[in-house]
């Protein structure tokens, strides 16, 4: 089965520092559905507060995620 890769940053690094999480995904789904699938793999409370992004954009919950895609899960930020 194909999968999506989820890059982990910040506090999510406790789930795998430097290693992307691979989640089986047979067909395209919304980001909202993907979040539900991820809740069993990542800290659910932190996941609720987090956004998802590509190298160019932050995605809305209605964005469509396709098998083979790589996303980043972005917990609340605190740069500076």
């Amino acid at each position: 089965m194909e999968s999506v890769k989820i890059q982990l940053f910040g506090a999510f690094r406790k789930h795998g520092d430097g290693v992307a999480l691979e989640l089986p995904l047979a067909k395209p789904c919304s980001l909202a559905v993907l979040k539900e699938l991820l809740a069993t793999h990542l800290d659910p409370e932190l996941l609720r507060e987090s956004a998802f992004g590509t190298t160019t954009d932050i995605l809305g919950d209605d964005a469509i995620v396709s098998p083979g895609q790589t996303l980043a899960v972005l917990p609340p930020v605190c740069g500076g």
């Binding site: 956004a51 160019t56 972005l74 917990p75 930020v77 740069g79």
Partner: protein, 154 residues
Amino acid sequence: MSNIHVQVSDAVITSQEITGLLDNPGHGAQILFSGVVRNSNLGRQVNGVSYDAFAPLTTRTLHEICVEAQSKWGAGLQFHVLHRTGLVQVGEASLLIAVSAPHRDEAYKASRYVIEQIKVRAPIWKKEHYIDGESEWLKGHALCSHPRTEEASP
């Protein structure tokens, strides 16, 4: 040379190096903002801070913020923005924002805009290291897919 230069890097850079890049002879104001790691936070003694960043999206976001500042205070404004990654020791700069403008008013406003937007929009995270040996990721601002923050408008 482009008027906007942004960088996300684990390399140390000095304030002299970055202000030296501001080279517009028509600009009478230069502002340098340095974000520096301090030795305490919320009552705990801090040794240093590790910065993590989603570099490609951070670079794009920093550039976008500078473009917004140019649209507000002048297309000719010059920006050099550097954000460190990796371990930054107490007293070292984690962030340098150098802005030049024809006059001080727009330079101050643009510099303030860039730092305030970075705080809430750039995908950067920090983990504080304490003298007791513990470490902790700091809480921050949730990102959304509508990145403009209207409160920062002049």
